[in-house]
Protein backbone atom coordinates (compact mmCIF):
# COMPACT_ATOMS: atom_id res chain seq x y z
CA UNK A 1 0.00 0.00 0.00
CA UNK A 2 2.83 2.36 0.92
CA UNK A 3 4.44 1.75 -2.47
CA UNK A 4 1.17 2.51 -4.28
CA UNK A 5 0.76 5.75 -2.28
CA UNK A 6 4.31 6.79 -3.17
CA UNK A 7 3.66 6.14 -6.87
CA UNK A 8 0.39 8.13 -6.76
CA UNK A 9 2.12 11.06 -5.00
CA UNK A 10 4.97 10.97 -7.51
CA UNK A 11 2.50 10.89 -10.42
CA UNK A 12 0.56 13.82 -8.91
CA UNK A 13 3.78 15.80 -8.50
CA UNK A 14 4.72 15.11 -12.11
CA UNK A 15 1.28 16.13 -13.33
CA UNK A 16 1.33 19.34 -11.29
CA UNK A 17 4.90 20.19 -12.31
CA UNK A 18 3.77 22.28 -15.26
CA UNK A 19 0.73 23.88 -13.59
CA UNK A 20 2.31 26.98 -12.00
CA UNK A 21 2.37 30.49 -13.46
CA UNK A 22 4.22 31.11 -16.70
CA UNK A 23 7.86 31.83 -15.85
CA UNK A 24 10.58 33.56 -17.84
CA UNK A 25 11.92 30.30 -19.30
CA UNK A 26 8.50 29.18 -20.53
CA UNK A 27 7.81 32.60 -22.00
CA UNK A 28 11.17 32.43 -23.73
CA UNK A 29 10.23 29.07 -25.24
CA UNK A 30 6.93 30.55 -26.42
CA UNK A 31 8.84 33.36 -28.14
CA UNK A 32 11.14 30.76 -29.75
CA UNK A 33 8.09 28.94 -31.12
CA UNK A 34 6.80 32.20 -32.61
CA UNK A 35 10.23 32.90 -34.12
CA UNK A 36 10.19 29.47 -35.79
CA UNK A 37 6.71 30.17 -37.22
CA UNK A 38 7.88 33.57 -38.49
CA UNK A 39 10.98 32.02 -40.08
CA UNK A 40 8.99 29.35 -41.88
CA UNK A 41 6.41 31.88 -43.01
CA UNK A 42 9.20 33.97 -44.52
CA UNK A 43 10.23 30.99 -46.66
CA UNK A 44 6.62 30.56 -47.82
CA UNK A 45 6.28 34.30 -48.53
CA UNK A 46 9.52 34.23 -50.48
CA UNK A 47 8.03 31.55 -52.77
CA UNK A 48 4.93 33.70 -53.32
CA UNK A 49 6.97 36.85 -53.97
CA UNK A 50 9.07 35.08 -56.61
CA UNK A 51 6.14 33.16 -58.12
CA UNK A 52 7.90 29.88 -57.40
CA UNK A 53 5.12 28.04 -55.61
CA UNK A 54 1.52 26.82 -55.95
CA UNK A 55 -1.36 28.92 -54.66
CA UNK A 56 -3.16 25.95 -53.11
CA UNK A 57 -0.09 24.86 -51.19
CA UNK A 58 0.51 28.41 -49.96
CA UNK A 59 -3.10 28.83 -48.84
CA UNK A 60 -3.23 25.54 -46.91
CA UNK A 61 0.19 25.86 -45.32
CA UNK A 62 -0.27 29.54 -44.45
CA UNK A 63 -3.51 28.57 -42.70
CA UNK A 64 -1.64 26.00 -40.61
CA UNK A 65 1.09 28.49 -39.68
CA UNK A 66 -1.44 31.20 -38.84
CA UNK A 67 -3.23 28.71 -36.56
CA UNK A 68 0.09 28.01 -34.81
CA UNK A 69 0.62 31.75 -34.20
CA UNK A 70 -2.96 32.20 -32.98
CA UNK A 71 -2.67 29.15 -30.72
CA UNK A 72 0.54 30.47 -29.15
CA UNK A 73 -1.07 33.91 -28.67
CA UNK A 74 -4.04 32.33 -26.88
CA UNK A 75 -1.80 30.13 -24.76
CA UNK A 76 0.33 33.08 -23.61
CA UNK A 77 -2.67 35.37 -23.09
CA UNK A 78 -4.53 32.78 -20.99
CA UNK A 79 -1.59 31.93 -18.72
CA UNK A 80 -1.11 33.59 -15.37
CA UNK A 81 2.42 35.04 -15.34
CA UNK A 82 5.15 35.18 -12.77
CA UNK A 83 5.76 38.70 -11.34
CA UNK A 84 8.08 40.94 -13.38
CA UNK A 85 7.39 39.57 -16.86
CA UNK A 86 3.84 40.82 -17.46
CA UNK A 87 4.99 43.44 -19.97
CA UNK A 88 7.06 40.95 -21.92
CA UNK A 89 4.14 38.53 -21.98
CA UNK A 90 1.80 41.25 -23.33
CA UNK A 91 4.40 42.18 -25.93
CA UNK A 92 4.72 38.52 -27.02
CA UNK A 93 0.93 38.24 -27.34
CA UNK A 94 0.77 41.41 -29.43
CA UNK A 95 3.53 40.18 -31.76
CA UNK A 96 1.85 36.77 -32.07
CA UNK A 97 -1.38 38.47 -33.14
CA UNK A 98 0.52 40.55 -35.70
CA UNK A 99 2.13 37.36 -36.96
CA UNK A 100 -1.25 35.66 -37.27
CA UNK A 101 -2.69 38.61 -39.25
CA UNK A 102 0.34 38.88 -41.54
CA UNK A 103 0.37 35.18 -42.40
CA UNK A 104 -3.40 35.46 -42.96
CA UNK A 105 -2.70 37.87 -45.83
CA UNK A 106 -0.93 35.03 -47.68
CA UNK A 107 -3.92 32.80 -47.10
CA UNK A 108 -6.14 35.42 -48.74
CA UNK A 109 -3.74 36.29 -51.58
CA UNK A 110 -1.68 33.11 -52.17
CA UNK A 111 -0.90 33.94 -55.79
CA UNK A 112 -0.23 37.67 -55.47
CA UNK A 113 3.47 38.40 -55.88
CA UNK A 114 3.23 41.96 -54.58
CA UNK A 115 1.41 40.75 -51.48
CA UNK A 116 4.16 38.15 -51.07
CA UNK A 117 6.84 40.88 -51.12
CA UNK A 118 4.91 42.97 -48.58
CA UNK A 119 4.28 39.98 -46.28
CA UNK A 120 7.94 39.02 -46.42
CA UNK A 121 8.92 42.53 -45.39
CA UNK A 122 6.47 42.57 -42.49
CA UNK A 123 7.59 39.13 -41.37
CA UNK A 124 11.20 40.32 -41.30
CA UNK A 125 10.14 43.11 -38.93
CA UNK A 126 8.20 40.65 -36.75
CA UNK A 127 11.17 38.28 -36.64
CA UNK A 128 13.41 41.16 -35.50
CA UNK A 129 10.94 42.11 -32.77
CA UNK A 130 10.78 38.49 -31.57
CA UNK A 131 14.55 38.29 -31.62
CA UNK A 132 14.86 41.39 -29.42
CA UNK A 133 12.21 40.15 -27.01
CA UNK A 134 13.84 36.73 -26.82
CA UNK A 135 17.25 38.26 -26.09
CA UNK A 136 15.83 40.41 -23.30
CA UNK A 137 14.22 37.36 -21.72
CA UNK A 138 17.36 35.25 -21.97
CA UNK A 139 19.61 38.01 -20.58
CA UNK A 140 17.61 38.12 -17.36
CA UNK A 141 17.32 34.37 -16.95
Amino acid sequence: VRCVVQIVVLAACLLCAGCGPLDRGELSRGVETLSAVAAESQLVADGVAQDRTRATYTRVHARTLAEDAAHEAEKLADASVAPGIERQRDRAVAIAQRLDDTIGTMETHPGDERAGVQVHKELTGIADDLDQLGQRLVQRL
Binding site: T33, A36, A39, E40, L43, G47, T56, Y57
Partner: protein, 406 residues
Protein backbone atom coordinates in the same frame (compact mmCIF):
# COMPACT_ATOMS: atom_id res chain seq x y z
CA UNK B 1 14.95 -4.75 -66.85
CA UNK B 2 13.81 -8.03 -65.26
CA UNK B 3 16.28 -7.62 -62.41
CA UNK B 4 15.16 -4.02 -61.83
CA UNK B 5 11.51 -5.13 -61.70
CA UNK B 6 12.35 -7.99 -59.35
CA UNK B 7 13.87 -5.71 -56.74
CA UNK B 8 10.59 -3.82 -56.47
CA UNK B 9 9.70 -5.60 -53.23
CA UNK B 10 12.73 -4.16 -51.49
CA UNK B 11 12.05 -0.73 -52.93
CA UNK B 12 8.44 -0.55 -51.75
CA UNK B 13 9.38 -2.01 -48.39
CA UNK B 14 12.12 0.59 -48.11
CA UNK B 15 10.17 3.54 -49.51
CA UNK B 16 7.11 2.59 -47.47
CA UNK B 17 8.94 1.52 -44.36
CA UNK B 18 11.93 3.80 -44.34
CA UNK B 19 10.47 6.95 -45.76
CA UNK B 20 6.99 6.93 -44.31
CA UNK B 21 5.38 9.91 -42.62
CA UNK B 22 7.42 9.31 -39.46
CA UNK B 23 10.73 9.25 -41.26
CA UNK B 24 9.95 12.25 -43.40
CA UNK B 25 9.22 14.28 -40.28
CA UNK B 26 11.88 12.72 -37.98
CA UNK B 27 14.72 13.18 -40.47
CA UNK B 28 13.69 16.72 -41.34
CA UNK B 29 13.37 17.67 -37.67
CA UNK B 30 16.72 16.06 -36.87
CA UNK B 31 18.45 18.06 -39.62
CA UNK B 32 16.69 21.30 -38.66
CA UNK B 33 17.50 21.00 -34.95
CA UNK B 34 20.89 19.29 -34.95
CA UNK B 35 22.32 20.05 -38.40
CA UNK B 36 24.51 17.18 -39.57
CA UNK B 37 25.14 15.82 -36.06
CA UNK B 38 22.66 12.95 -36.30
CA UNK B 39 23.64 11.61 -39.72
CA UNK B 40 25.40 8.65 -38.06
CA UNK B 41 22.12 7.28 -36.73
CA UNK B 42 20.79 6.70 -40.28
CA UNK B 43 23.36 4.09 -41.42
CA UNK B 44 22.95 2.26 -38.10
CA UNK B 45 19.24 1.86 -38.89
CA UNK B 46 19.89 1.04 -42.57
CA UNK B 47 22.39 -1.73 -41.85
CA UNK B 48 20.12 -3.15 -39.12
CA UNK B 49 17.03 -3.38 -41.29
CA UNK B 50 19.08 -4.70 -44.21
CA UNK B 51 20.53 -7.48 -42.06
CA UNK B 52 17.16 -8.54 -40.65
CA UNK B 53 15.19 -8.10 -43.89
CA UNK B 54 17.74 -10.26 -45.70
CA UNK B 55 17.46 -12.88 -42.95
CA UNK B 56 13.65 -12.88 -42.93
CA UNK B 57 13.55 -13.04 -46.75
CA UNK B 58 16.03 -15.92 -46.73
CA UNK B 59 13.98 -17.79 -44.13
CA UNK B 60 10.83 -17.22 -46.20
CA UNK B 61 12.53 -18.37 -49.42
CA UNK B 62 14.02 -21.52 -47.87
CA UNK B 63 11.28 -22.60 -45.44
CA UNK B 64 8.24 -20.83 -47.02
CA UNK B 65 7.54 -19.44 -43.55
CA UNK B 66 7.05 -15.69 -43.04
CA UNK B 67 8.07 -13.89 -39.85
CA UNK B 68 4.90 -14.33 -37.81
CA UNK B 69 4.81 -18.04 -38.49
CA UNK B 70 8.39 -18.18 -37.21
CA UNK B 71 7.56 -16.09 -34.12
CA UNK B 72 4.76 -18.45 -33.17
CA UNK B 73 6.87 -21.53 -33.75
CA UNK B 74 9.91 -20.27 -31.90
CA UNK B 75 8.36 -18.31 -29.01
CA UNK B 76 5.32 -20.48 -28.39
CA UNK B 77 1.66 -19.49 -28.26
CA UNK B 78 1.54 -17.24 -25.14
CA UNK B 79 4.62 -15.15 -26.00
CA UNK B 80 3.61 -15.15 -29.64
CA UNK B 81 0.26 -13.74 -28.60
CA UNK B 82 1.96 -10.92 -26.67
CA UNK B 83 4.04 -10.06 -29.77
CA UNK B 84 0.89 -10.22 -31.91
CA UNK B 85 -1.05 -7.83 -29.66
CA UNK B 86 1.90 -5.42 -29.38
CA UNK B 87 2.55 -5.43 -33.11
CA UNK B 88 -1.13 -4.99 -33.97
CA UNK B 89 -1.35 -2.04 -31.57
CA UNK B 90 1.65 -0.37 -33.22
CA UNK B 91 0.36 -1.25 -36.70
CA UNK B 92 -2.98 0.38 -35.97
CA UNK B 93 -1.24 3.59 -34.85
CA UNK B 94 1.06 3.46 -37.87
CA UNK B 95 -1.72 2.90 -40.39
CA UNK B 96 -3.74 5.79 -38.93
CA UNK B 97 -0.72 8.04 -39.21
CA UNK B 98 -0.07 6.99 -42.82
CA UNK B 99 -3.70 7.52 -43.91
CA UNK B 100 -3.53 10.88 -42.14
CA UNK B 101 -0.31 11.67 -44.03
CA UNK B 102 -1.93 10.85 -47.37
CA UNK B 103 -4.85 13.13 -46.44
CA UNK B 104 -2.49 15.97 -45.46
CA UNK B 105 -0.60 15.75 -48.77
CA UNK B 106 -3.88 15.68 -50.75
CA UNK B 107 -4.99 18.72 -48.76
CA UNK B 108 -1.80 20.56 -49.78
CA UNK B 109 -2.61 19.72 -53.41
CA UNK B 110 -6.34 20.50 -53.48
CA UNK B 111 -7.36 22.44 -50.31
CA UNK B 112 -10.44 20.71 -48.91
CA UNK B 113 -11.28 19.52 -45.38
CA UNK B 114 -8.86 17.00 -43.88
CA UNK B 115 -11.61 14.53 -42.96
CA UNK B 116 -12.87 14.45 -46.56
CA UNK B 117 -9.40 13.63 -47.86
CA UNK B 118 -8.86 11.04 -45.13
CA UNK B 119 -12.03 9.31 -46.33
CA UNK B 120 -11.17 9.66 -50.04
CA UNK B 121 -7.56 8.64 -49.44
CA UNK B 122 -8.56 5.49 -47.55
CA UNK B 123 -11.20 4.60 -50.15
CA UNK B 124 -8.70 5.23 -52.94
CA UNK B 125 -6.10 2.95 -51.36
CA UNK B 126 -8.64 0.20 -50.68
CA UNK B 127 -9.76 0.38 -54.33
CA UNK B 128 -6.19 0.26 -55.62
CA UNK B 129 -5.32 -2.68 -53.34
CA UNK B 130 -8.48 -4.55 -54.32
CA UNK B 131 -7.94 -4.32 -58.08
CA UNK B 132 -4.14 -4.37 -58.33
CA UNK B 133 -2.03 -7.52 -58.03
CA UNK B 134 0.76 -7.62 -55.43
CA UNK B 135 3.53 -6.92 -57.95
CA UNK B 136 1.54 -3.99 -59.35
CA UNK B 137 1.22 -2.46 -55.88
CA UNK B 138 4.96 -2.76 -55.34
CA UNK B 139 5.73 -1.04 -58.58
CA UNK B 140 3.09 1.69 -58.35
CA UNK B 141 3.99 2.91 -54.86
CA UNK B 142 7.67 1.95 -54.89
CA UNK B 143 8.65 3.56 -58.16
CA UNK B 144 6.46 6.67 -57.91
CA UNK B 145 7.75 7.15 -54.37
CA UNK B 146 11.18 7.57 -55.92
CA UNK B 147 10.12 11.15 -56.74
CA UNK B 148 11.43 11.76 -53.21
CA UNK B 149 14.88 11.83 -54.79
CA UNK B 150 14.11 15.50 -55.35
CA UNK B 151 15.22 15.97 -51.72
CA UNK B 152 18.59 14.36 -52.43
CA UNK B 153 18.96 16.60 -55.48
CA UNK B 154 17.96 19.61 -53.34
CA UNK B 155 20.59 18.72 -50.74
CA UNK B 156 23.29 18.53 -53.44
CA UNK B 157 22.03 21.69 -55.14
CA UNK B 158 22.64 23.68 -51.96
CA UNK B 159 26.35 22.64 -51.95
CA UNK B 160 26.71 21.10 -48.50
CA UNK B 161 29.91 21.53 -46.53
CA UNK B 162 31.24 18.01 -47.12
CA UNK B 163 33.66 18.25 -44.23
CA UNK B 164 30.77 18.88 -41.81
CA UNK B 165 28.68 16.19 -43.52
CA UNK B 166 31.51 13.71 -43.02
CA UNK B 167 31.81 14.76 -39.37
CA UNK B 168 28.11 13.98 -38.92
CA UNK B 169 28.81 10.28 -39.47
CA UNK B 170 30.98 10.16 -36.35
CA UNK B 171 28.81 9.55 -33.26
CA UNK B 172 29.11 12.04 -30.44
CA UNK B 173 28.30 11.49 -26.76
CA UNK B 174 25.97 14.34 -25.86
CA UNK B 175 24.13 15.07 -22.65
CA UNK B 176 20.98 16.41 -24.38
CA UNK B 177 18.02 14.05 -23.90
CA UNK B 178 16.44 15.47 -27.06
CA UNK B 179 19.50 14.41 -29.05
CA UNK B 180 19.19 10.83 -27.75
CA UNK B 181 15.44 10.86 -28.33
CA UNK B 182 16.15 11.58 -31.98
CA UNK B 183 18.84 8.87 -32.12
CA UNK B 184 16.34 6.32 -30.78
CA UNK B 185 13.62 7.64 -33.07
CA UNK B 186 15.80 7.48 -36.18
CA UNK B 187 16.98 3.92 -35.46
CA UNK B 188 13.48 2.77 -34.48
CA UNK B 189 11.87 4.35 -37.54
CA UNK B 190 14.28 2.37 -39.73
CA UNK B 191 13.57 -0.90 -37.97
CA UNK B 192 9.77 -0.71 -37.62
CA UNK B 193 8.57 -4.35 -37.27
CA UNK B 194 5.88 -4.01 -39.92
CA UNK B 195 8.61 -3.68 -42.55
CA UNK B 196 9.84 -7.25 -42.02
CA UNK B 197 6.30 -8.67 -41.64
CA UNK B 198 5.54 -7.16 -45.04
CA UNK B 199 8.88 -8.06 -46.61
CA UNK B 200 8.93 -11.72 -45.58
CA UNK B 201 5.25 -12.25 -46.40
CA UNK B 202 5.88 -10.55 -49.74
CA UNK B 203 8.62 -13.09 -50.40
CA UNK B 204 6.06 -15.87 -49.87
CA UNK B 205 3.54 -13.95 -52.05
CA UNK B 206 6.13 -13.86 -54.82
CA UNK B 207 6.85 -17.59 -54.29
CA UNK B 208 10.56 -17.14 -53.70
CA UNK B 209 12.64 -20.30 -53.52
CA UNK B 210 16.31 -20.83 -52.60
CA UNK B 211 17.04 -19.87 -56.23
CA UNK B 212 15.90 -16.33 -55.37
CA UNK B 213 18.39 -15.73 -52.58
CA UNK B 214 20.44 -13.37 -54.74
CA UNK B 215 17.30 -11.38 -55.55
CA UNK B 216 16.54 -11.33 -51.81
CA UNK B 217 19.97 -9.96 -51.01
CA UNK B 218 19.73 -7.34 -53.78
CA UNK B 219 16.25 -6.34 -52.58
CA UNK B 220 17.46 -5.84 -49.03
CA UNK B 221 20.68 -4.00 -49.90
CA UNK B 222 19.42 -1.85 -52.80
CA UNK B 223 15.93 -1.21 -51.40
CA UNK B 224 16.96 -0.18 -47.90
CA UNK B 225 20.06 1.53 -49.28
CA UNK B 226 17.77 3.75 -51.33
CA UNK B 227 15.61 4.35 -48.27
CA UNK B 228 18.69 5.35 -46.30
CA UNK B 229 19.89 7.67 -49.05
CA UNK B 230 16.51 9.42 -49.08
CA UNK B 231 16.62 9.80 -45.30
CA UNK B 232 20.10 11.30 -45.50
CA UNK B 233 18.94 13.62 -48.30
CA UNK B 234 16.12 14.94 -46.13
CA UNK B 235 18.38 15.45 -43.13
CA UNK B 236 21.17 17.18 -45.08
CA UNK B 237 18.69 19.42 -46.93
CA UNK B 238 17.02 20.40 -43.64
CA UNK B 239 20.42 21.07 -42.07
CA UNK B 240 21.25 23.44 -44.93
CA UNK B 241 17.95 25.23 -45.41
CA UNK B 242 16.01 25.02 -42.14
CA UNK B 243 18.68 25.05 -39.43
CA UNK B 244 20.22 28.44 -40.39
CA UNK B 245 16.76 30.01 -40.79
CA UNK B 246 15.55 28.72 -37.42
CA UNK B 247 12.67 26.72 -38.90
CA UNK B 248 11.30 23.92 -36.70
CA UNK B 249 9.39 21.56 -39.00
CA UNK B 250 6.40 20.44 -36.94
CA UNK B 251 4.10 19.96 -39.94
CA UNK B 252 4.21 17.66 -42.94
CA UNK B 253 3.56 20.73 -45.10
CA UNK B 254 6.92 22.21 -44.09
CA UNK B 255 8.93 19.41 -45.71
CA UNK B 256 8.19 20.22 -49.42
CA UNK B 257 9.73 23.67 -48.89
CA UNK B 258 13.09 21.87 -49.04
CA UNK B 259 12.45 21.09 -52.70
CA UNK B 260 10.62 24.31 -53.50
CA UNK B 261 13.47 26.57 -52.36
CA UNK B 262 15.94 25.30 -55.02
CA UNK B 263 13.55 24.12 -57.74
CA UNK B 264 10.43 26.28 -57.41
CA UNK B 265 6.99 24.93 -58.30
CA UNK B 266 8.35 21.84 -60.10
CA UNK B 267 10.29 20.84 -56.98
CA UNK B 268 7.26 21.41 -54.81
CA UNK B 269 5.05 19.19 -57.00
CA UNK B 270 7.67 16.43 -57.18
CA UNK B 271 8.11 16.52 -53.41
CA UNK B 272 4.37 16.31 -52.80
CA UNK B 273 3.98 13.44 -55.32
CA UNK B 274 6.89 11.53 -53.79
CA UNK B 275 5.46 12.00 -50.31
CA UNK B 276 1.99 10.94 -51.48
CA UNK B 277 3.21 7.65 -52.94
CA UNK B 278 5.78 6.91 -50.24
CA UNK B 279 3.26 7.47 -47.46
CA UNK B 280 0.57 5.64 -49.48
CA UNK B 281 3.02 2.75 -49.89
CA UNK B 282 3.60 2.75 -46.15
CA UNK B 283 -0.17 2.54 -45.62
CA UNK B 284 -0.26 -0.53 -47.89
CA UNK B 285 2.70 -2.04 -45.99
CA UNK B 286 1.12 -1.39 -42.60
CA UNK B 287 -2.37 -2.63 -43.50
CA UNK B 288 -1.00 -5.82 -45.06
CA UNK B 289 1.47 -6.34 -42.22
CA UNK B 290 -1.40 -6.22 -39.73
CA UNK B 291 -3.51 -8.64 -41.78
CA UNK B 292 -0.53 -10.95 -42.43
CA UNK B 293 0.33 -11.08 -38.70
CA UNK B 294 -3.14 -12.00 -37.56
CA UNK B 295 -3.75 -14.48 -40.40
CA UNK B 296 -0.38 -16.22 -39.96
CA UNK B 297 -0.81 -16.39 -36.20
CA UNK B 298 -4.33 -17.79 -36.46
CA UNK B 299 -3.45 -20.15 -39.31
CA UNK B 300 -5.89 -18.61 -41.81
CA UNK B 301 -5.49 -18.70 -45.57
CA UNK B 302 -3.65 -15.52 -46.49
CA UNK B 303 -2.06 -13.74 -49.42
CA UNK B 304 -2.82 -11.06 -51.96
CA UNK B 305 -2.04 -13.58 -54.72
CA UNK B 306 -5.25 -15.38 -53.74
CA UNK B 307 -8.61 -14.00 -54.79
CA UNK B 308 -10.54 -12.40 -51.88
CA UNK B 309 -12.82 -15.44 -51.80
CA UNK B 310 -9.71 -17.67 -51.46
CA UNK B 311 -8.54 -15.84 -48.33
CA UNK B 312 -11.73 -14.19 -47.01
CA UNK B 313 -10.60 -13.62 -43.41
CA UNK B 314 -7.29 -12.14 -44.55
CA UNK B 315 -9.13 -9.81 -46.95
CA UNK B 316 -11.62 -8.85 -44.25
CA UNK B 317 -8.74 -8.19 -41.84
CA UNK B 318 -7.03 -5.53 -43.97
CA UNK B 319 -10.39 -3.95 -44.81
CA UNK B 320 -11.26 -3.80 -41.09
CA UNK B 321 -7.88 -2.25 -40.28
CA UNK B 322 -8.48 0.49 -42.86
CA UNK B 323 -11.97 1.16 -41.42
CA UNK B 324 -10.70 1.16 -37.82
CA UNK B 325 -7.85 3.53 -38.61
CA UNK B 326 -10.10 5.87 -40.55
CA UNK B 327 -12.35 5.95 -37.49
CA UNK B 328 -9.36 6.88 -35.28
CA UNK B 329 -8.43 9.72 -37.64
CA UNK B 330 -11.98 11.06 -37.63
CA UNK B 331 -11.62 11.75 -33.88
CA UNK B 332 -9.37 14.67 -34.89
CA UNK B 333 -6.12 13.23 -33.56
CA UNK B 334 -2.94 14.69 -35.11
CA UNK B 335 -1.34 12.14 -37.51
CA UNK B 336 2.16 13.40 -36.71
CA UNK B 337 1.71 12.85 -32.98
CA UNK B 338 0.41 9.37 -33.76
CA UNK B 339 3.52 8.69 -35.80
CA UNK B 340 5.92 9.74 -33.08
CA UNK B 341 4.18 7.50 -30.57
CA UNK B 342 3.96 4.55 -32.97
CA UNK B 343 7.66 4.78 -33.83
CA UNK B 344 8.85 4.99 -30.23
CA UNK B 345 6.39 2.40 -28.88
CA UNK B 346 7.31 -0.03 -31.66
CA UNK B 347 10.83 -0.08 -30.25
CA UNK B 348 9.63 -2.10 -27.30
CA UNK B 349 8.40 -4.85 -29.65
CA UNK B 350 11.60 -4.87 -31.72
CA UNK B 351 13.63 -7.51 -29.83
CA UNK B 352 10.65 -9.86 -29.66
CA UNK B 353 10.13 -9.50 -33.41
CA UNK B 354 13.72 -9.97 -34.46
CA UNK B 355 15.04 -12.61 -32.04
CA UNK B 356 12.97 -15.47 -33.57
CA UNK B 357 14.18 -14.46 -37.04
CA UNK B 358 17.77 -14.56 -35.84
CA UNK B 359 17.32 -17.91 -34.09
CA UNK B 360 15.70 -19.64 -37.06
CA UNK B 361 18.03 -18.09 -39.65
CA UNK B 362 21.05 -19.64 -37.90
CA UNK B 363 19.37 -23.03 -37.34
CA UNK B 364 20.79 -25.59 -39.78
CA UNK B 365 17.91 -28.01 -39.19
CA UNK B 366 15.57 -25.46 -40.77
CA UNK B 367 17.89 -23.63 -43.13
CA UNK B 368 20.39 -26.29 -44.17
CA UNK B 369 23.26 -24.82 -46.15
CA UNK B 370 21.49 -21.43 -46.21
CA UNK B 371 21.84 -20.83 -42.46
CA UNK B 372 23.55 -17.62 -41.29
CA UNK B 373 27.22 -17.36 -42.13
CA UNK B 374 29.74 -15.67 -39.81
CA UNK B 375 28.99 -12.12 -41.04
CA UNK B 376 25.20 -12.46 -40.65
CA UNK B 377 25.69 -14.12 -37.26
CA UNK B 378 27.94 -11.35 -35.88
CA UNK B 379 25.79 -8.54 -37.31
CA UNK B 380 22.59 -10.25 -36.14
CA UNK B 381 23.76 -10.48 -32.51
CA UNK B 382 25.34 -7.02 -32.57
CA UNK B 383 22.04 -5.54 -33.68
CA UNK B 384 20.15 -7.57 -31.09
CA UNK B 385 22.22 -5.81 -28.41
CA UNK B 386 21.54 -2.42 -30.03
CA UNK B 387 17.80 -3.20 -30.21
CA UNK B 388 17.65 -4.13 -26.53
CA UNK B 389 19.49 -0.92 -25.52
CA UNK B 390 17.21 1.17 -27.73
CA UNK B 391 14.11 -0.62 -26.38
CA UNK B 392 15.11 0.07 -22.77
CA UNK B 393 15.86 3.75 -23.48
CA UNK B 394 12.82 4.55 -25.65
CA UNK B 395 10.03 5.13 -23.14
CA UNK B 396 12.09 7.15 -20.59
CA UNK B 397 13.31 9.38 -23.43
CA UNK B 398 9.76 9.78 -24.77
CA UNK B 399 8.63 10.97 -21.32
CA UNK B 400 11.72 13.09 -20.59
CA UNK B 401 11.45 15.03 -23.85
CA UNK B 402 7.67 15.28 -23.94
CA UNK B 403 7.70 13.22 -27.16
CA UNK B 404 10.38 15.40 -28.72
CA UNK B 405 8.65 18.62 -27.74
CA UNK B 406 11.48 19.53 -25.39
Amino acid sequence: VKVVLRIALGIIAAIGGFVDIGDVVFNTQAGAQFGYELLWAVPIGVVGITVYAEMSGRVAAVTRRPVFDVIRTRLGLPTGLVVLVASLFVNVLTLSAEIGGVALVLQLFFDAPFTLFALLGALGMVTIIWFTPFEGLERLFGYLGLALFVFVAAALHEHPDWHSVGGGFVPEAKSSTLYWYFVVGLIAAALMPYEVYFYSSGAVEERWTPNDLLVNRLNAVVGYGIGGLLSLGLMVAAAQMFAPAGVVPDHLGTVPLLAQIPYGEAGLVLALLGMLFAIGGAAVDASFAAAYSIAQFAGWEWGKYRRPSGAPRFTLAWLVFFALDLGILMTGIDPLELTEYSVVLSVVALPLTYIPVLLIARDRTFMGEHANGPVARVLGWLYMVILVVVAVAAIPLLLATNAGGG
